[in-house]
């Protein structure tokens, strides 16, 4: 029963299965992103209070949602790595961190761009923005810790431990910042209250969220594949793979 799970521990198997998934995942990602972006940026109706400047939400919300979900993906990989001592899980963890960091950064940047015309300020210390900033630092911390170790295996373990510590802390941090914000900003302006959204805007938003999830998955698989190749570069199966590709290349050139 567990054999399918343990297959994930085999680099060549993971490499090829990731390749097959990517073959259809990448086109889907591109299509979803394109459709969602056009729908949201051009066809969804303007907001009654914010006009057209709210459209950045179609980038900001998906990026932030997937950035947070990505952390839990990373932490799960960390847990798998520690419990089953699976090197591939280490690779997954290592690959998640920069992708998550970039998505968080995109979320923060798009949030700032949204904030300027809407509230007149590039930055505001509200609960969600501040929590997103902390999430960014959590990602950066994982990357920094990984780079600080000379031994890759120990680096993976250390980052796995750190990501699990982060998992426990994220809800605590969010709740604390939320409480802190409500204490000092007595609901005079609700910056990120978007619970009442009309269907014509909700639908493209949901599509963009799905598109971003696909984007995360494809980036993760691509990153993992290149990481696998890098680590296993001296093994036979990689050598065969490279020679086969080189053979194809020269055959095409000739």
């Amino acid at each position: 029963m567990w054999t399918w799970f343990h297959k994930f521990g085999s680099p060549p198997w993971l490499y090829s299965i990731a390749g097959s998934i990517l073959r259809w995942l990448v086109p889907i990602t591109v299509i979803l992103l394109a459709v969602g972006a056009v729908w949201g940026l051009l066809y969804a109706p303007p907001d009654f209070r914010q006009g057209n400047s709210y459209r950045i939400m179609f980038v900001h919300v998906p990026a932030s949602v997937v950035a947070l979900a990505g952390y839990y993906v990373m932490a799960t990989a960390g847990a798998v790595s520690l419990i089953w001592r699976m090197k591939m899980a280490d690779i997954a963890l290592r690959s998640c961190a920069p992708i998550g960091a970039m998505l968080t950064f995109l979320g923060l940047l798009s949030g700032a761009v949204w904030g300027k015309p809407t509230w007149g300020t590039w930055w505001v210390w509200d609960a969600r923005v501040t929590s997103m900033l902390v999430l960014f630092f959590l990602y950066v911390g994982i990357i920094a810790l990984y780079e600080a170790f000379d031994n890759e295996e120990l680096a993976g373990k250390a980052c796995a431990v750190l990501s699990l510590v982060g998992t426990v802390n994220i809800p605590i941090i969010y709740k604390s910042v939320d409480w802190w914000y409500s204490l000092h900003q007595p609901a005079s302006i609700k910056f990120t209250e978007d619970s009442t959204m009309d269907g014509s805007m909700l639908r493209p938003l949901l599509l963009m969220i799905v598109a971003f999830y696909c984007l995360f998955a494809s980036s993760l698989l691509l990153y993992m594949r290149s990481e696998i190749l890098r680590r296993e570069s001296s093994t036979n199966w990689v050598r065969k793979l490279v020679l086969a590709k080189a053979g194809q290349g020269s055959a095409n050139a000739v």
């Binding site: 630092f137 810790l145 373990k157 699990l164 426990v168 802390n169 941090i173 709740k175 604390s176």
Partner: protein, 224 residues
């Protein structure tokens, strides 16, 4: 088991007593930085009073951050940590004694000296009790969380600023509630909810941190 823990604790405290400079340094740092704030803000007592809770808490946080770096370094360098990791007893309890000793030598003195700094920053007298209680609980949490960072980085050559980068995000909730407790007390409101939350954080940290610290120590001993 109990004898091992007592021996560990005794060793930590003895080593610290032999090098009192390492205990005094964070406190001097605390004093110096507290002095910087009025110099930066201005001597107006009303302004200082407004910032006092936050400043006291932030400086306590930074002082603790400076001090946690060395929590395991001494015993890592001379091989004691390796022996401890290889021992058959579970690692999480001796790890806890390291944190406890560290807190006795940094967090506790900080808490006891805080009224002095509070006076320098014009904190209202009625808030000093809350200040001390919040620091007592909070610095313990900071030491526990800091211990995780220290355990993960003790084997690295260039630990330094990395530990701050790793731990400061986790310090955020402690700072929020600690500072709020003192602010509430200074405004004449009860700080009981905040203090209870800090107590809860401490309990959770005691429940979970020792295991993360033990895992980190095993990793670092393998790396070093």
């Amino acid at each position: 088991m109990g004898r091992l823990l007592a021996a560990c604790l005794r060793r930590q405290l003895l080593l610290a007593v032999r090098r009192p400079v390492e205990v005094v340094n964070p406190l001097v740092f605390f004093l110096l930085v507290v002095m910087l704030f009025p110099l930066g803000i201005g001597p107006d007592p009303r302004q200082l009073t407004e910032f006092a809770p936050a400043v006291l808490w932030i400086v306590a946080l930074l002082a603790t951050l400076l001090a946690v770096e060395g929590m395991f370094r001494g015993d890592f360098d001379d091989g004691t940590l390796e022996q401890l990791v290889l021992a058959p007893q579970p690692l999480f309890l001796p790890a806890l004694t390291y944190v406890f000793a560290h807190w006795l030598l940094t967090g506790l003195p900080l808490t006891l000296l805080s009224p002095l700094f509070a006076l320098m920053l014009q904190l209202p007298g009625k808030a000093i009790g809350t200040l001390m209680l919040s620091l007592l609980l909070g610095t313990a949490v900071l030491s526990l969380i800091g211990g995780i960072g220290a355990a993960l980085t003790v084997g690295l050559k260039r630990g330094g600023i990395l530990i701050s980068l790793l731990i400061i995000p986790f310090y955020v909730p402690v700072l929020i509630f600690g500072s709020a407790a003192v602010q509430f007390a200074a405004a004449g409101n009860s700080a009981q909810p905040q203090l209870l939350v800090l107590g809860g954080m401490l309990s959770l940290a005691v429940a979970l941190a020792p295991f993360a610290i033990a895992a980190g120590l095993r990793i670092s001993v393998d790396a070093g």
